[in-house]
């Protein structure tokens, strides 16, 4: 691996961590309702929206009302996206005259975008009209991200409020997340992407002459190529910032018009983690102790960095079987080296591994290389990152509220170890919180392992597998891990667009998103009712390196131990077979 690749990764972290505080501080002001600089521009729009929709912005909600509002809003989102797909042939902005999407695929896609998963069983350019992409998918990209942020803010209110029954107003949190945070950031980012050559147009696909003509399967001469176009940059900006990951084109950010240059690649990778990382600071700011936020960010990095190193290393070392037959996989000024199958030459192995780790750590799921073609170990990392429950960065909002649940679990066990009823940020953690937290840790393994078991037992499930040996199983496990944790990335080649998988994965995405939101809001409601216990020397500090290690350990032990047997029969054995001495 060459120096420039290391420098790129180093720079990545420097910029990411450097942006955490300013953006986190800004978001804290947005949620606290304090002046944030954009009030004069956006305030009137915000108030207009409330007036039009009849929302009283000072109205407080109990956790149940908040949860109902969240579910109803997201449910409506699913219905709208479904109907848009089913009727796109009658709707405008369909220059390719694409037909109605099949019901199972439309259901899968609607759930996928509403749940911030962006699993794509379809290929955008050949399935969805511009109208569906913009009004259906891009809108969901914004509001699904804003939903995750709103739930996080509700949980923070639960932690900070004392002896009250309410946790804020969902409509206000949703609106402010979208208007003050996601829209301005996406606008700026889209413009930057356009400057790098990412396409943004309403023109139909372009027909260009080939430099060198070729023949197709039937022996006919081919002299032109159709290049799909569309309003991509605007969707890509929010796809990365909102940890959505749904690409405009089928191959996602590996497509040259979706991710054109090494710089656009660097910025998109950064955008994947940006808001999720900055929300940690927002958390600390809002709970009144920024150290608490930095500690959670540190817990994320404690897991993320070693995983990244393993993934980069595995991809950079390349395939030992190719080394045996004297293929040059070394890194030198003329090639990135390493395992280049399924990777873009303009990005190289290291930047692809960085992206793969980031996109699966965050529940983004966009790809700039094909994870299916990673080395077994390199492919294990993205899969495991998802199985950790999407709490290492995770989705915007959803990742952090997931990690806070793990922190509550860690506090519970650590609290017992110091001989006190556990407290987190002054709130006592009792059996109700444990009940809800248990639901949160139960659901993802239940969905992933249960779904995998169903898929491998049925012929329709096995039929989509396109690889022999343990890699075939890895394909199924990856698909369920991705849908069951709302990530959305895929092992390419897997035949996901079948009625069976559209329904199974659609159900997985629904359950894992909304079954988690409800217990999280329940914890918020229960914590808000509690009194505040001031810290003493007997209170466990939750910002120390020890606690950081404990939270990370909790995520690894509780979140990941569950998947060890399944992983052993997938990527682990693949790796052992690949590296076995013959």
């Amino acid at each position: 691996m060459n120096t420039s690749a290391w420098m790129e990764i180093g720079l990545f972290f420097v910029i990411l961590i450097g942006l955490v505080k300013p953006l986190g501080w800004y978001m804290a002001r947005v949620y606290a309702g304090q002046p944030c600089g954009l009030d004069r521009a956006i305030g009137p729009v915000e108030r207009l929206l409330y007036r039009v929709s009849g929302v009283r912005s000072d109205e407080e909600m109990t956790w149940t009302t908040y949860a109902v509002a969240t579910l109803v809003f997201n449910g409506l989102g699913v219905v709208v996206v479904y109907l848009l797909q089913r009727g796109q042939q009658w709707l405008p902005m369909n220059p390719q005259q694409l037909g109605a999407v099949a019901p199972d695929l439309a259901f899968n896609t609607a759930v996928s975008f509403a749940s911030n998963t962006n699993w794509q069983a379809y290929s955008g350019e050949s399935t969805l009209s511009y109208f569906t992409q913009m009004l259906g998918l891009t809108v969901q990209n914004f509001v699904s991200a804003a939903t995750g942020m709103a739930v996080l803010i509700a949980l923070i209110r639960g932690l900070t409020r004392r002896s009250t029954g309410t946790i804020g107003n969902f409509w206000v949190d949703l609106t402010r997340s979208t208007l003050y945070i996601l829209l301005p950031l996406s606008f700026v980012f889209a413009v930057v992407l356009v400057s790098q050559g990412v396409v943004q147009t309403f023109s139909p696909s372009a027909e260009v002459a080939l430099l060198e003509s070729t023949t197709d399967a039937e022996g006919k001469s081919v002299t032109t190529q159709t290049i799909p176009l569309g309003p991509a940059a605007s969707q890509i900006a929010i796809k990365q910032l909102g940890t959505n990951g749904g690409g405009f084109f089928g191959v996602n950010s590996a497509h040259p018009l979706e991710n054109s240059t090494p710089l656009s690649n660097f910025l998109q990778a950064l955008a994947i983690l940006l808001i999720a990382a900055a929300l940690c600071y927002t958390f600390g700011d809002l709970v009144g102790d920024v150290r608490q936020g930095w500690a959670l960010l540190a817990a994320m990095l404690v897991i993320f960095v070693p995983m990244l190193v393993v993934c980069v290393w595995a991809e950079q070392v390349g395939n030992p079987r190719l080394t045996e037959i004297d293929v040059d996989q070394t890194s030198n000024p003329f090639q990135s080296g390493g395992n280049m199958e399924g990777k873009e030459v303009r990005f190289g192995a290291a930047a692809s591994a960085l992206w793969a780790t980031a996109t699966t750590a965050a529940s983004n799921g966009s790809v700039n290389s094909m994870h299916d073609s990673f080395t077994p170990l390199g492919g294990l990392i993205p899969m495991w990152m998802m199985q950790l429950g999407e709490v290492i960065f995770g989705g915007v909002g959803s990742g952090l509220y997931g990690l806070v649940i793990f922190a509550i679990l860690a506090v519970f066990i650590a609290g017992l170890m110091v001989g006190r009823t556990p407290e987190y940020l002054g709130k006592k953690i009792e059996s109700y919180e444990m009940k809800m937290a248990s639901l949160v840790i139960l659901i993802p393994p239940m969905v992933v392992l249960g779904g995998t078991a169903i898929a491998v037992s049925l012929d329709v499930g096995r039929a989509s597998v396109t690889n022999p040996g343990p890699h075939g199983f890895s394909q199924i496990l990856y698909a369920l891990s991705s849908a069951g944790n709302n990530n959305g990335s895929a092992f390419g080649g897997f035949g996901a667009n079948t009625p069976f998988y559209n329904c199974l994965l659609g159900a997985a995405m629904l359950i894992s998103r909304y079954w988690l939101i409800v217990p999280v809001l329940a914890i918020a409601g229960s914590l808000a009712k509690k009194k505040y216990t001031p810290p003493s020397a007997g209170t466990l500090p939750t910002h120390t390196p020890l606690f950081i290690v404990l939270v990370a350990g909790m995520v690894l032990l509780v979140g990941a131990l569950t998947f060890v047997p399944a992983l052993a029969l997938g990527p682990v054995i693949e790796h052992l077979q690949l590296t076995a001495t013959r």
Binding site: L409, M417, V456, T533, A568
Partner: protein, 687 residues
């Protein structure tokens, strides 16, 4: 005070014997259902036993001996957990039996409404009945003395052999059933019905019969149940996944059900699950060994959470008595003269204060005690009216007493009470002491400085509490100046001076409103409101019935310092749970390394590279993991019963220490343990 405490050896043979039988009795599924983790093990044991039986008649991929081995060790896992619980209960029962001996059926002399005495068995007494108990009789029931004064031997309850005085009215009116009147007679009104007496409640608490799960235990149970379900899923889904892997690899055979169950039992937190109830019972037992009876497990648990301790000054922070520490002569009087007079006036004064004056005169001025008889002196006893005492000899009239009484005495004889003496008096008061003025005739000789003596080591104790994050507040009836002086000397964090019951109650409410948990001790009826309000309220056994009813613990030794010990026991209980949970979870890593390669090596031989412990064969690997999982429960029984050692350090240090021992230890130990068991199995040709 604690001399009577019996330290029971950890493994007492009769208890062990009983516990072994108890372990089998507890296999009852209805009992196991209380504990989701162990219930899962029970189902697994039954299931593998059936598999083993089937394998005998219908041999499958695994031999009947192997499946039988797994089944046997799963049963052992259950039995070991049951044994731990039975041991903890047995230790409590032994205590209860000792108590029960004192609850003999006695004939009580009941006073009917028309003052006729009749003999009835104590079991027929009802609340409100009036009985008469004469010297030599056992008190038939808990009650309140309504007439008479008597000395009562309460050793059956407290272990304290010195008799105590019980009298009607005031704070010493409560008597406990099973104690013995040794002089005089008492008229008692029953305050409880048979079967609900203090002793009965104590016995049922000790035996754990009425043991309810505590809030914290419930929360932990939920977590353990959730983890059990997660692992159940991970193991159950392994069956179709391994079937598919066999299809993909084209060789080997799917994982067998016996191995799935073995893996499941190894992964679910059986260590903590099996020991959880034993830890709870042992916590209660430790309380009882400290001679404290808690009315609920909840109270024991709450003790660990205490933020504020309210401590009565007298008896807790200071010794009950004041001691003379200095003679301060008036102008023109030598210290020796004053010491001489003070000594003479105190020779027949048998109060601790009087004795301390004699001792000070001897140690500081070499004045030996003189024979009272030889002096032919006339001693004047202290009376509440004159508020002084003294001696008349050879025409000398020496008196000592409270300042204002002595000032009057001197003035009455036209003597002079010098200004400088008054200054000394107020100086002593400011220091938290009590001044005693000594005069001979009309001449004031000087002042004796009587000082509240702070108990030895108490300052260090408070420092430890501070480190644990517990604030100490001294409660005293003294004026603020005196209280501040003693508070500073004892090193408490705060004090409440001129305390009234109302002020105490208000203080507790104030702390609670700030989100803190408050503990206090009390004995008087006027303490009851505060006791009822406090989160942990320890009533002294010597206190009134009302105080005992209001509190949630009773200290049989009536030792106010016990509160500190109670907090430690509460913390220890939670710590033991937390540490063993961590240990249990950390164990899982090694078990994966033992079982996963063994289970799938037929399908994927390359998995043997994960066999980092180099276990001999797949079946020895699986058996070793199961055996380790069972044996570790046995090895941890002493820890569960005794509790994790408590250290008075801050939370962060405590967490670090326990994480290293139980987290890292839990990670490493099973690697070693499983390997050793594997070596033994191979050496014995068992696998």
């Amino acid at each position: 005070m604690m001399s009577t405490r019996t330290v029971r050896p950890l493994f007492d043979w009769p208890i062990v014997k009983q516990a072994i039988w108890g372990a089998f009795g507890k296999l009852d599924p209805r009992h196991q259902l209380r504990n989701p983790v162990m219930f899962t093990v029970l189902i697994g044991s039954i299931f593998t036993t059936l598999l083993a039986i089937r394998a005998v008649t219908n041999p499958g991929e695994e031999s009947a001996a192997f499946i039988g081995g797994i089944a046997a060790w799963l049963w052992f896992t259950l039995l070991f957990a049951n044994f731990a619980e039975a041991m903890a209960e047995g230790r409590g029962k032994a205590q209860a039996d000792a108590l029960r001996k004192s609850r003999q059926e006695v004939m009580a002399c009941r006073l009917t409404s028309n003052n006729v005495r009749e003999l009835v068995p104590s079991s027929q007494l009802k609340k409100g009945d009036v009985v008469i108990v004469k010297a030599g009789d056992l008190v038939p029931i808990d009650g309140e003395v309504i007439d008479g004064v008597a000395s009562v031997d309460e050793s059956a309850i407290t272990g304290e052999s010195a008799p105590v005085i019980r009298e009607s009215g005031g704070d010493r009116s409560a008597v406990t059933g099973g104690t013995k009147v040794i002089s005089d007679s008492l008229t008692i009104r029953a305050t409880s019905s048979p079967g609900d007496s203090f002793l009965d409640r104590m016995i049922s608490m000790v035996e754990g019969a009425k043991r309810q799960k505590t809030p914290n235990e419930i929360a932990l149970d939920i977590l353990l149940a959730a983890m059990t379900i997660v692992f159940l899923l991970a193991c159950a889904t392994l069956v179709p996944i391994s079937e598919y892997s066999v299809v993909l690899a084209g060789k080997g055979s799917p994982i067998t059900l016996a191995v799935v169950v073995a893996l499941l039992v190894c992964l679910i937190p059986t260590t903590i699950g099996g020991l959880l109830s034993a830890i709870g019972i042992a916590g209660m037992d430790r309380m009882i060994q400290a001679n404290v009876i808690a009315t609920s497990g909840r109270a024991v648990e709450a003790a660990g959470d205490i933020d504020v301790l309210l401590l009565d000054k007298t008896g807790t922070i200071t010794l009950g008595n004041r001691q003379a520490v200095e003679f301060i002569p008036a102008d023109g009087v030598t210290a020796e003269q004053l010491a001489d007079a003070a000594q003479l006036s105190s020779l027949s004064d048998e109060t601790p204060e009087g004795r301390s004056i004699v001792i000070l005169a001897k140690t500081k001025y070499g004045l030996r005690g003189r024979n009272v008889e030889e002096l032919r002196a006339k001693f004047i006893e202290f009376s509440a009216r004159t508020r002084m005492s003294g001696v008349d000899l050879d025409g000398r009239e020496i008196r000592k007493g409270a300042v204002d009484a002595m000032e009057n005495y001197v003035r009455e004889q036209n003597g002079d009470f010098p200004r400088s003496l008054k200054d000394q008096v107020s100086r002593i008061a400011n220091l938290g002491g009590t001044p005693l003025v000594v005069a001979e005739g009309k001449r004031a000789l000087g002042v004796i400085y009587l000082k509240d003596i702070v108990k030895g080591g108490i300052r260090e104790r408070f420092a430890q509490l501070r480190q644990m994050g517990i604030k100490t507040v001294m409660i005293t009836g003294d004026n603020p100046l005196t209280a501040a002086a003693i508070a500073a000397e004892a090193g408490v964090d705060d004090f409440l001076a001129e305390a009234t019951p109302e002020a105490k109650l208000a203080l507790i409410r104030e702390y609670q409103a700030g989100g803190r948990l408050v503990a206090m001790t009390g004995d008087g009826t006027n303490d009851s409101p505060a006791l009822a309000q406090a989160d942990v309220a320890v009533a002294m056994n010597s206190g009134t019935q009302a105080a005992k009813e209001a509190g949630n613990m009773v200290d049989l030794d009536s030792n106010p310092t016990k509160l500190i010990e109670i907090v430690e026991i509460g913390k220890q209980l939670l710590m033991t749970r937390g540490s063993l949970t961590t240990f249990s979870i950390a164990n899982d890593v090694s078990k994966y390394f033992a079982i996963i390669p063994a289970a799938f090596v037929g399908t994927y031989p390359e998995l043997n590279r994960l066999n980092v412990m180099a276990l001999a064969t797949p079946s020895s690997a699986i058996l070793s993991a199961v055996i380790f999982n069972a044996l570790v429960i046995v090895f941890l029984i002493p820890l569960a019963l005794r509790g994790v050692r408590y250290q008075s350090v801050g939370a962060a240090t405590l967490l670090r220490n326990n994480l290293v021992v139980y987290g890292l230890g839990g990670f490493v130990v099973p690697f070693v343990g499983i390997k050793v068991i594997d070596l033994i199995l191979v050496a014995l040709h068992l696998a």
